[in-house]
Amino acid sequence: MRSPRKQPVGSTKAPKARFHLPWRDLLDVLALGAWSAMLFRYWFSGLLLLLLHPNYAWLSNSAAIVLAALAAYRLWQAFQSSKASRRRVNADKSSDNSGHVTLLPGNLSSAILLTVAVFGLIYTPQAFASQTATQRGIADTLTLTRAQPQRFARAAAPEDRTIIDWIRLINVYPEPDAYTDEAVDVEGFVIYPEGWPDGYLMLSRFVLTCCAADAYPVGLPVKLPEDSTVQQFPVDTWLSVSGRVATETLNGQRQIAIAPTEIQTIEAPKNPYEY
């Protein structure tokens, strides 16, 4: 960015030779404003749910408001200072001297922030899918969720349990036979884990404790009906599966699997995570 001094004199307003725009301040205003706008966008479009645990949405929403206020204040200040640009330059010099050591030049930092915010305004975040699940090791977490609930309430009816409820339950009491013939009704997306025999898929969900950074996948195996093919359920399709619990041996490990009575393809939910 140019420093005010290099600004060609009288580029915009010829009669006022001394007038120049406070570029640095305007860049700040733009960066702050864009960040605020980005957070507002995620707030009102509901996209925030793809990024954060809903418990912390208020933090991001308050930040949006605070940033907007800061931007407005800076704009007002820039407006004031463009009227008295001379004094402004002096004030800048004195306030820059509070023992602060900078790593990056201020203008560069503002530019980076502005770029990221504009990008965030344009880009629509995508929910994680099978590829990420594999990367994050779904097989490792099959019977191990990272959240270790201190209080454990058994969800009333088996058919009301979500995938994460099931996994937590199994975590506490792993014997698959204990659940035989219980009713299952869960929703999730399709993964075909490596090393599993044909005819099985994993119905998975991502679980969030804080934000998308710690989303980890959990899943329940589904034994596909004899007459169905893998092509019917491509990777990443969302399914609603209802059926009964059975015990299967997958990868040399006895575990529960769903013997489905009904498999339906559904729309990806607006909030794909469970908590």
Partner: protein, 344 residues
Amino acid sequence: MVQLNTGVTLFLSLLVEAIPFLLIGVAFSSLLLFFVDERWLVGTLPKNAFAGALVGSLLGVFFPVCECGNVPVARRLLVQGAPTAVSVGFLLAAPTVNPVVFWATWVAFRGQPEMVFLRVGCTLLIATAVGWVFSVQSDIGPFLQETVARSRFQDRTPIKQKSKGATSNAQSVLLQGGTFLQGPGNEMLQLDTPAAQRLVANPIVSQSPKSKLQLMIENVVRELRELGAVLVFGSAIAATVQVAIPREVILGLGQGMVSSILAMMILAAVVSICSTVDSFFALSFASTFTSGSLLAFLIFGPMIDLKNIGLLLTVFKGRAVFYLFALASLMSFAAALAVNLYLG
């Protein structure tokens, strides 16, 4: 393409989660900078080295600054005659042992609350120990940069100073020559104090509330701009590592007892992410790296990193910074290894 999307979503998620905490942290440290005069504090600090180190480490509870705010504050503490143990303890612990960071870490590691307590506990331990070690040096002067050393209020520390010639003015202020102003209470303001001293000794505290508020907001914006840019870099690195490096490689590195700790400590030093938000960064590695290594990242990062070393060198000489670095890194490593070995 999917990978790119995942990476970008991860990146944005880290930013969106971290920005509120960065705002809070920056607001607090600016508030502190312009509304608190550390001079009242210096008089009440314990003289005992161990107690001083401990108190210094705990000062962060009242001074919630992250690692960029703490160096100027520690410098002012030193200049105003706070014992070395206190200043060093504060320097190392304040960015971690404070309510904002505690909260942020709690939010991030809600699933593993032990991480939060281990982080605070180990930091306290290390900072107190290092502060204690530094207090063995009875005069910290030779360790400080010239400008800082010269501008210290030597008259406030009437400890047996083996006067090394030059400017040993361990007398009452009034026994020195010069022009004085009677401040509120018994405070004396010497008008011809060295320029450096007046600059470092928080000159803004004496301004009017309105201009202080203005300066504070200005400072908030400046720190936000700067730390925000570092946060952007940090999040970008975290997201890239997550999606670009094959899982086998990360797992191979991240599951090793020692290699994971070393990797995370190097990452902590390089990434220089602000302590109020580094727990979210660490969180993105939680599924692949050992708990000990995450702990090492969370303890060591706020104490020493690239950004911080530059700041530290404005206060301490290279040798002292090296000692700080060596002690902090070795102790963080030991703590992390202990967690890996005994807590799994």
